[in-house]
Structures are given as structure tokens and as C-alpha cells.
């Protein structure tokens, strides 16, 4: 039996993305955003994207760069406070932003990733900004909001190690939304710090089974300065 090999060159990543698509990117405040894939998207001319991500990163960090360069027309996130460009574009009407409470957003992505239609959540019940016309269901006499699942044309994640079958191991707090996002893409592309041969990862340590992952690319590392590094 041959060995599957999902490793592709980094430059091929953009052939899976076209303008107007919905993409989902793992990460939280830039940590765990896939830096080299974002760099490739920046070099391409894809635009008018719908982006599903925990947040809008920072102006020059992570997915924040795509926002700053106005590649995003619609953003589904829990927070944009760390990227003033997102706030300005929203105010100017150039960027549509849809907010979900952070844990609800994670569960919506997970629901999409595990083949559910949505989740029932009581977070934000009676809060008009969260309810915002959503369907309500009463179960065991408690009200819940119907929060629909999220999926994407392409999911991009970042992992510490990946084997050629696509099994992934994450890195400390860079795990965050990545295992959820990895499940929710029609196509999932993982940028990994270290590509290893299939069989080198212990089955017990694998967080994302390779079946969820379509392609693996070698990371070229972070090419931005973290906010805390600035004096």
C-alpha cells in the first residue's frame, strides 16, 4: 500500500482560492494564523472575500493584513478591537462585520466541521444585539438561540507538526480555533512548522486526524513583529 502525500508547494495555495469565496482562518489575535499562507494571499490578487475568523488580528499581524489591504468584504468574528482598520472600514461601509460571542462562534465553526446544522446556545438570550431576530427554541423550559453552523470554501490552519497524511499537532496557545477550522472547510490547507513522515507522530498525540486535511504546506515562519515586541 502506497503512502498518501498531501504536501504541496506553498505557491500552489492560491490556486484553491478565488475572489468572492468564503475562507476560514484559524488563530486568535494573530497567534495561530498561518503566516506564509496569508503572505501568499497578499501576493495574489484575491479580493471580495468573506472571512470567518475569531478576530481581525492587528493591522500588520495575521489576518489583519488582509483586512488592512481591503481584501475582505465581509467578516464574521467575535472581536475587531485590535485592528482599527477593521473598525474604520466598518464605519465607512466598506466592510460588513457580523459579530458572534466568542464561544458561540467557536461552536458554530465546530458544528459546521462535524456535520451539524447549528447549535442551541443560551449565551445572549434577552440581549437584543445578540438575539437580533434569531430563532428561539425552548428546551426543558429554558430558552436557547438557534445559532447556524459555519463552513467555508477553504479553511486555512496553522500547526506545529503535520505528517504527509495530514495528521496535525498544534503548538501551545496557537491551537485555539485551528482544530475547529480544520474540520469546517470544503478544502482544508494546513501550514505546518515541521513536516514529518507518516508514522512519526504518535496516534495518541494527534489532535486533527488527517482525513480532515486536504493539503499540507511548509511554513516559512512569522514575518511580522508582534504587538508586545514594540517598545
Amino acid at each position: 500500500m502506497g503512502t498518501m502525500n498531501k504536501v504541496i508547494p506553498l505557491r500552489e495555495v492560491t490556486s484553491y482560492v478565488s475572489s468572492g469565496m468564503t475562507i476560514m482562518v484559524g488563530g486568535f489575535g494573530g497567534v495561530g494564523n498561518p503566516p506564509s499562507i496569508i503572505n501568499e494571499l497578499m501576493k495574489s490578487n484575491v479580493h471580495q472575500l468573506t472571512l470567518i475568523c475569531n478576530d481581525a488580528g492587528f493591522p500588520q499581524i495575521g489576518v489583519g493584513k488582509l483586512v488592512t489591504e481591503k481584501r475582505i468584504k465581509k467578516l464574521i468574528a467575535s472581536h475587531i478591537g485590535s485592528n482599527p482598520n477593521a473598525g474604520k472600514q466598518m464605519t465607512d461601509g466598506d466592510l460588513e462585520v457580523i459579530f458572534s460571542p466568542q464561544g458561540t462562534l467557536a461552536e458554530r465553526i465546530r458544528a459546521g466541521g462535524v456535520g451539524l446544522g447549528g447549535v442551541l446556545v443560551d449565551v445572549g438570550v434577552a440581549n437584543p444585539i445578540v438575539e437580533n431576530g434569531k430563532q428561539k427554541i425552548v428546551i426543558n423550559e429554558k430558552p436557547f438561540l438557534v445559532e447556524p453552523a459555519l463552513t467555508a470554501n477553504v479553511s486555512f490552519v496553522y500547526a506545529k507538526k503535520g505528517d504527509r497524511f495530514g495528521n496535525l499537532v498544534y503548538d501551545t496557545s496557537a491551537r485555539n480555533t485551528n482544530p475547529l477550522v480544520a474540520m469546517a472547510g470544503d478544502i482544508t490547507i494546513a501550514e505546518v512548522e515541521k513536516i514529518v513522515d507518516t508514522g512519526e507522530l504518535h496516534p495518541e498525540e494527534i489532535i486533527t486526524p488527517g482525513a480532515f486535511v486536504d493539503y499540507i504546506v511548509q511554513s516559512e515562519g512569522v514575518n511580522w513583529t508582534w504587538a508586545w515586541e514594540k517598545k
Binding site: 486568535f28 468574528a77 485590535s82 491551537r175
Partner: protein
């Protein structure tokens, strides 16, 4: 916001006294983050919504791991017994009620314990992040803030004018002037910090305060941290 470092530290130190051994605690951004510096040796597990239970002190300069950060994006270390997990599990811990306490900042708190800490319509619409889950689901919610806003208007009010994060969720408010408990029948003034008087606190509060029979006038702000 607008408070000197010394006063911020003293508010954080007072909040740290509320943390008891064995608690699981989430600290918000701003003054709440400072609370971790004052808990001393008591065993406590700090939760970060980006997927860590058991965050530790900041690393020394040059020893940071850029991927190991708290929810505010600053590098941290971990303590013995810490664990990493994904965002869904981070919020599972919150939604299921495993957080004994969350310590957050606020724009306004009402006399019923309603919390507004995420939107100033037309000015600041950053998104709620994890604030709604934390406020709605933590067993105890403590608010650390300046007693008044930059126009010296009370931030503790009868009814919040800003969009709410969550209703009737706040249990205690610690400011530069006082410690106030939020009870079912209203606000109870428990501690007043020197150099302020009970009258100062009442004048700068936009809701009715009852005075605790155990009221403490505390010289905490005279310099002895």
C-alpha cells in the same frame, strides 16, 4: 483608564483578596490582568479563553514563546498542572460554570448588577469577544474600574445607558474609591479608601447606596501596599 499605575495596582491587590485557594479564575484585559501579580502562593488556576488553564507569570525578556500568549496577546508562562485546548473547550469550561470567578473592566454597572462593557454606539464597536459568556456564566463577577468616567460622571448608575453585555451578573465592584457589593435589594457600600469619605463615594455614585454595618474605612491608598 485615566488611573495612575499605583492606584491600578492597589485596585488589583484588593481584588486579589477575593481569590480563594482552589479557584478557577479568568482575568479580563486592563486592570484585571494585574490581579495575577498579587495572589501570592495560594493555589489558583487562571483560565485564558484562547485555550489555557493554568497561566503563569510573564516570562523574562528574551524568553518569550510568541505562540504562548494570554487572551490579550501578551506572552505568558504556564504553571504546574496547566493544559492547552481548543477554543470550543475553553468556552465549554465557561458555559458549564467551571469558572469560580471572572474579573472584568466596565463602562457602566447598574444598581441591579447589569454590566455594559463592550459598545459605545457610534464610537467604539469592537465586538463582544468572550465578555458575554464570562459575565453570564462565571459564578462570581467582579468589576474593577475607575469610579467615574473622564468627565467625572458616575459609572455606577441606576440604569445603564450603554448596550448591556449581560443583565444582573455583577456581584462586586472595586474602584479607586470604594468596594461595593451588588445585592438583590441594591448596592451596599462595604469599604471606602483613604483619602475618600463616605460622602465622596455617595456624590460620585449614580445610584442609591446602603452603608454596610461592617463598613471599613481603609488607608489602603496611603501607600502601604
Amino acid at each position: 483608564m485615566g488611573l495612575g499605575k499605583e492606584i491600578r495596582n492597589k485596585i488589583a491587590k484588593r481584588a486579589a483578596e477575593e481569590i480563594k485557594p482552589g479557584m478557577i479564575v479568568n482575568l479580563g484585559i486592563g486592570i484585571p490582568t494585574l490581579v495575577a501579580d498579587f495572589v501570592g502562593d495560594i493555589p489558583v488556576m487562571f483560565h485564558a479563553e484562547n485555550g489555557i488553564l493554568g497561566t503563569g507569570p510573564s516570562p523574562k525578556a528574551g524568553e518569550e514563546n510568541p505562540l504562548l500568549c494570554n487572551a490579550g496577546g501578551f506572552p505568558i508562562t504556564t504553571v504546574s498542572g496547566a493544559s492547552y485546548f481548543d477554543s470550543a473547550m475553553a468556552f465549554a469550561l465557561i458555559r458549564r460554570g467551571f469558572l469560580d470567578m471572572t474579573i472584568l473592566g466596565a463602562l457602566e454597572v447598574s444598581e441591579k448588577g447589569d454590566l455594559a462593557n463592550w459598545i459605545v454606539p457610534g464610537k467604539r464597536v469592537p465586538g463582544m469577544g468572550g465578555a458575554i459568556e464570562l459575565a453570564q456564566k462565571a459564578k462570581k463577577v467582579i468589576i474593577l474600574m475607575n469610579h467615574t468616567d473622564k468627565f467625572e460622571k458616575p459609572k455606577i448608575v441606576k440604569q445603564c445607558s450603554l448596550p448591556l453585555t449581560a443583565k444582573t451578573c455583577v456581584d462586586m465592584i472595586i474602584t479607586d474609591m470604594a468596594v461595593i457589593n451588588v445585592k438583590k435589594d441594591g448596592l451596599e457600600l462595604c469599604e471606602v479608601f483613604n483619602p475618600f469619605t463616605i460622602e465622596d463615594v455617595i456624590c460620585n455614585t449614580g445610584a442609591t447606596l446602603t452603608i454596610s454595618e461592617h463598613l471599613n474605612l481603609i488607608s489602603r491608598f496611603e501607600g502601604d501596599i
